[in-house]
């Protein structure tokens, strides 16, 4: 209970402990704590930034997607239009072709018929003349009545 030399020993011990703590214990620990605090703060900042970047990227993506969709729709629309036009053109051409073919066919048929008629007419004329000849042979001279026959042929 009395105050004695212990107080001196305790004071020295205290002083040594404080000195040791100040020299070897406190600085490394507090430095580590502060460094870690800084690291954590940086990490949180980085995280926040990354979040923002991500949001922005997502927005960009959405926008680009929208644009791409729009372009695709446009392209499809154009393609459809072009397809329709090609079909129409082809149809038109087909019609024309058919018309042409039909027309040429008609013409050919007409020409053929004409030729056949001419032929027929000639042959009929020859036949008529031949018949008439045969009928008249006995009484009429061919040369004397050729003009009448000609007239007949022309009337056919």
């Amino acid at each position: 209970m009395d105050i004695n030399a212990t107080i001196i020993g305790q004071s020295i011990a205290f002083a040594v402990f404080v000195w040791f703590c100040m020299k070897f214990v406190w600085p490394p620990i507090i430095n580590a704590i502060e460094e870690r605090q800084k690291k954590i703060a940086d990490g949180l900042n980085a995280g926040e930034r990354a979040q923002k970047d991500l949001e922005k990227a997502q927005e960009d993506i959405a926008e680009q997607l929208k644009e791409a969709k729009q372009q695709a729709a446009e392209i499809i629309e154009q393609a459809k239009k072009r397809g329709a036009k090609i079909v129409e053109d082809e149809t038109q051409r087909g019609h024309e072709e058919r018309e042409k073919i039909v027309a040429s066919g008609h013409e050919e048929v007409e020409a053929e018929r004409h030729r056949a008629r001419e032929e027929l007419r000639k042959q009929v004329a020859v036949l008529a003349v031949t018949g008439a000849q045969k009928i008249i042979e006995r009484e009429i001279d061919e040369n004397a009545h050729r003009d009448i026959v000609e007239k007949l042929v022309a009337e056919l």
């Binding site: 305790q10 704590i33 460094e35």
Partner: protein, 265 residues
């Protein structure tokens, strides 16, 4: 646990007696020195282990605990002490942890270590009667320890006062406050001296008183027979608060006193 041949008074007195070597003022309380130095070394060793490995990486469990304590002390210092000082924070940490550990010895059942010491001493042949061995395990129930701490702080208060205000400023503070008149210089000096001296005295006596009383109650509880178990438990639980609180108060007041010493009025 009263031994057969001891009266309660003898039992209590035995428990409150230091193991003292030497005579008069130059006597040394070996038990006080032993436990306080052991605990101080334990504190520094365990904290130094963390300090050596400390990095900003992922901390281990013990490192987490140590850093918690360090940060707690650091915040307390930053709240009260404005300005840069390399000494205050480690000083506060040492005071807080060391006093806490010394107080913590109070929770070791009061008979264990003294009884062990008694029979160790007897068997080793230092004494003829085991009861001649005195062994107090709570260094803070020794006035020498608490005054050693508070007088060291007192010395720092004076050093800081002179360092930050100069000898002139310190002298002026001692003589011209609280009454700023030359005729009242003696009155001021008496008042300021009392204020100054009250600081270490109150620091030491508060810590000593709390722990001494707590220790005494543990001793009294130890004498009541079987009912000491729940009573001891209840008092120990309550005492946990006292232990931490006294360590904290000592640390906090040290910081506040040094902060006052280093700031102008």
């Amino acid at each position: 646990m009263v031994s057969g041949e001891q009266t309660p008074t003898q039992y209590i007195q035995h428990h409150l007696q230091n193991w003292t070597v030497g005579e008069g003022f130059w006597a040394v309380n070996v038990d006080t020195i032993f436990w306080s130095v052991l605990l101080g070394v334990l504190f520094l060793w365990s904290f130094r282990r963390v300090a050596k490995k400390s990095s900003a990486g992922v901390p281990g469990k013990w490192q987490c605990f140590v850093e918690m304590v360090v940060e707690f002390v650091d915040n307390s210092v930053k709240e009260s002490f404005h300005g840069k000082d390399k000494l205050i924070a480690p000083l506060a940490l040492t005071i807080f942890v060391w006093i806490f550990l010394m107080n913590l010895m109070d929770l070791v059942p009061v008979d264990w270590l003294p009884t062990a010491a008694m029979y160790t001493g007897y068997w080793l042949g230092f004494v003829n009667d085991p009861h001649d061995v005195y062994f107090k395990v709570v260094p803070t129930t020794d006035l020498n320890t608490t005054f050693a701490l508070s007088l060291s702080v007192f010395a720092l208060i004076i050093i800081y006062s002179i360092k930050y205000k100069g000898i002139k400023g310190f002298a002026k503070e001692m003589t011209f406050t609280p009454f700023n008149h030359w005729a009242l210089v003696p009155v001021n000096f008496v008042l300021e001296s009392i204020t100054l001296l009250a600081k270490p005295a109150s620091l030491a006596l508060r810590l000593f008183g709390n722990l001494y009383a707590g220790e005494l109650i543990f001793i009294l509880i130890a004498m009541i027979g079987l009912f000491q178990l729940p009573a001891h438990f209840a008092w120990a639980v309550f005492h946990i608060l006292v232990i931490v609180l006294q360590a904290f108060i000592f640390m906090m007041l040290t910081i506040v006193y040094l902060s006052m010493a280093s700031s102008e009025h």
